[in-house]
Amino acid sequence: MALVATLASRNLLQDRLRFVATLIGIVFSVVLVMVQMGLYLGFGRMVTTMIDHAPADLWIVSRGTKSFEDLSLLDTRIGDRVRTLAGVAAVVPVVIGFSAWQLPGGGMTPIFVVGSNIAAGGIAPWDIVNGSVQALSAAGHVAVDRTYFGRLDVTGIGAKTEIRGLPAQVAAVTDGIRSFTTTPYVFADLNSARSYIGLPASSASHLLVRLKPGADIGQVQSAIQAAVPNVEALTPAQFRTRSRSFWLFGTGAGAALFAGALLGVIVGTVIVAQTLYSSTKDHLYEFATLRAIGCSKGYIYTVIVLQALISAVLGFVIAAVIGFAIVAATAKTSLPIVITPSLLAALFLLTVAMCVGSAMVAISRVVRLEPVMVMAR
């Protein structure tokens, strides 16, 4: 190891209690930021899960629709008009809405119904662990996620109940389709879903558009906008962005998460700055000695920055281990924390920036150092 690194690491380890306090500060800060940003990513994924799994090239939604869960309605005749446009292969209506699931022991629990013509390429449930998608084509057949068995008071395939007073039977079970609103999703065929929600056959929540091979998506999008007033034709990416923007920023949830993350950065910066400053003060005569024997300021800055980097790397590694444990612990919850490689890389850079930035406070103390002080001691 280079001598400058040896000096930096031993300076840090000389006061082990302070070093542990520094690491705890960094770990606390990084874990806090990691959880907040992991929640942000997890929430961002959850709110677009239906859009991500829908086989659509374009979405037709009512003008001003904010998200997939927006309950605005469209006239299904719009679909007939769009089908005549060049480049359009199919238009599939989707209905969504809240309803009530009858519990066997009495009482009801709210559900969120998602219905479309699955045989025509509508939104079908995914990650099916029991039963089949095809079984949903039958009237009154539904798919539920096993996460909600307790809430819906069912045990699996074949369970019977009523939705809004109409008969329903569990014909497929999924694993991991959870709702960020905590209201269980229930998938059904278009007509069954309309009945459960209480929508007339002339209404749909959204229309999925699939294009013919080679069709220009931008041209079709413009053609729909020109042909049909008061609707918007959105690409999946646009709809995703709009949904995320609404749920994360329109509701204030994202701002709260970012505020938490910012708090983590501030706490971490203050703790690291304080401990590095106090460590530098303790070693002030050693730094003055370095200056006296002709060492450049850059060499001293290197010692201090290396101390910050060592703290950053160790703190980050510990925080990452804790972070992955939290990811594993929340994987099966309704709001899993998601840590992606890019988030991890960004957090590492943030940790380094936070620690090196904190070192500037210590460096500002050394800048004023007079080597002659060693002569008076």
Partner: protein
Amino acid sequence: MTKSIIHATNVGKTLGTGAAQVQALKHVDLSLDGGGMTLLMGPSGSGKTTLLSLLGGMLTPSEGTVEICGHSTEGADAEELAEIRRRYIGFVFQTFHLFPTLTAAENVQLALDVRGERGAMARARTREVLTKVDLVRKAESFPRQLSGGEQQRVAIARAVVAEPAVILADEPTAALDGVNGQAIMALLSAIAREPDRAVLVVTHDARLTGFADKVLHIEDGVLVPEAAPSSNVYRMRGSA
């Protein structure tokens, strides 16, 4: 003595400001040549340390000029002064100022490291110098594991390892007992015999004059006329 290494001309230094202002040095003329040891003596507060700091490029004079190996310290900024110290000066301090977290060898090697001299050659040079000060067996010891005399020898090794033109020692024996003090002075005296190197030792211990080729006295910030080295129990050389 053959070669002028440090040259001070009409140097004055004012310390402090306002009512606390003190004229620490006045009209000092001094030339430090290679190949000999100079003792700078004087009572406490006479300006010894201030003069040493000026000659070592840690301070710049308020008046006059100081030249170190041909480089004037006048108008030099902190980094330029650091470079002068790095290139030409080795310091030995009263309280050693060793790095407690580094071993003896690492403390010595640090003086090379700050000069950008690293690797096997730096390690070999460190070992060579530790051998000269008879501490190679304690190369891996930390300062707390060494006696005061051993710590000062490490400090001397650190001062000489980069072969500077001048060694400036500030009360190098003050924290040591008589035997260790004598050994340290003998070591510095041996270093001073090299023709291109000067050694200036600040001390208030009159018993050390026997080691010196030249003795300077300072009182109230003014150098008083040079005295010839006297014979005493600490005298190691028979040249006087």
